[in-house]
């Protein structure tokens, strides 16, 4: 595959994971220079400067999503949603680069299965926002519900307010940034990626996490099974400073006070043998 870099340990240096991948897993990093590797071949040709809008008032989610897709088909690279009214399942399955501006709040399962777009939301979002996001950026100006960023694999997911429980459950990559507090079981079964919580974290933080890194700026009620504190390195501080500054979320007192949480790896029981190798051993 063009533009894929397998030589460097970039992903480990960035704190995305510490697990030495081998066997059936192959570690790949997309090259930043590979413009074509970021979108699917069937991605529509949109003009970011061509702006269209959808008024969600009185419409069902299906109708709203259909209007969004019609705008995309006609080359609109920026879509503005007016009066979203906290409706569910809006802006889903967008698999290419474009912009969304949401003037208001979304309900459950907003922005699910995204792979590339940049979404800015002026209100709050309900449960399971940006579930399974693969790439792109979502910025929520106010609060978010539970399971924020469940199972995301990539991209930046930002909530400037507080989020509910089980934030980043089953997170497989990417970055979750929370300006306020997060609830219980955040980072539950986390497997890759990074989560940053500027406020407090509820009970059982990082419970049963396999890998990845959680940074918390406030108090942690308690840690979950196999989640342990780790040293905050200069690389971590530099990354936190850059990332939080990027989204204008830098705390007044800097990042030195953040607590770093990683997996204790006592629950690991992986089998890295290929099926064929296993037959030989057996």
């Amino acid at each position: 595959m063009a533009g894929v870099d397998t030589s460097a340990d970039t992903s480990e240096m960035m704190g995305l994971h510490t697990e030495p991948l081998k066997g059936r897993d192959i570690k790949t990093m997309f090259s930043l220079e590979n413009e074509g590797g970021y979108a699917y071949a069937f991605a529509p040709d949109v003009d970011f400067n061509k702006r269209g809008s959808v008024d969600c008032e009185g419409k069902e989610a299906t109708e709203i999503n259909r209007e969004i897709r019609d705008l995309i088909k006609s080359g609109h690279g920026t879509v503005v949603l007016e009066n979203p009214g906290a409706k569910h399942s809006i802006i889903v399955g967008i698999l290419h680069r474009m912009n969304f501006i949401v003037n208001g709040s979304l309900g459950y399962f907003g922005c699910g299965l995204l792979d590339g777009p940049t979404v800015r939301i002026s209100g709050r979002v309900g449960w399971s926002f940006a579930e399974n996001m693969m790439a792109g950026v979502c910025v929520v100006a106010k609060n978010a519900g539970s399971t924020f960023g469940a199972a995301i694999r990539g991209g930046d997911l930002v909530c400037k307010g507080s989020v509910g429980s089980r934030t980043g459950i089953d997170q497989k990559g990417g970055t979750i940034l929370v300006g306020g507090d997060t609830g219980a079981f955040s980072g539950f079964m986390m497997q890759r990626g990074r989560m940053v919580v500027c406020g407090n974290a509820g009970k059982n933080l990082g419970d049963s996490m396999y890998d990845g890194t959680i940074f918390v700026g406030g108090d942690i009620k308690n840690l979950g099974v196999d989640a342990i504190p780790a040293e905050l390195t200069d690389l971590d501080k530099a990354w936190l400073t850059r990332k939080l500054s990027q989204y204008e979320m830098m705390p007044d007192k800097g990042v030195d006070h953040f607590t770093k949480i990683i997996a204790g790896k006592q629950l690991w029981s992986y089998d890295n043998l290929e099926p064929s190798e296993k037959k030989l051993v057996l």
Partner: protein, 81 residues
């Protein structure tokens, strides 16, 4: 025992996951289980309290943009009329 004390006790005594509301003649209370597994969206102003399992239900009576949040695990709230 006050309504608030009763609600807090119920979190330990009720089995399973739940978020529930209870009303008396002059009070409204809510309690959320220790797993925070059932949804609850809260909207509160000086003269109004609205609770629902999803914000879109609150929007049916408050159509404009509002600031809402999800109560956390084991959270108990009581409002007096």
């Amino acid at each position: 025992m006050t309504l608030e004390e009763t609600l807090k006790k119920s979190i330990d005594e009720i089995d399973g996951v739940f978020t529930y509301l209870v009303t008396t003649r002059d009070q409204l209370g809510m309690a959320k289980d220790s797993m925070a597994a059932k949804p609850m969206v809260l909207y509160e102003t000086d003269d109004m309290v609205a609770l629902a399992s999803e914000e879109v239900a609150i929007r049916a009576i408050v159509p404009h943009e509002i600031d809402t949040w999800d109560p956390y695990d084991e959270e108990v709230r009581v409002w007096q009329a």
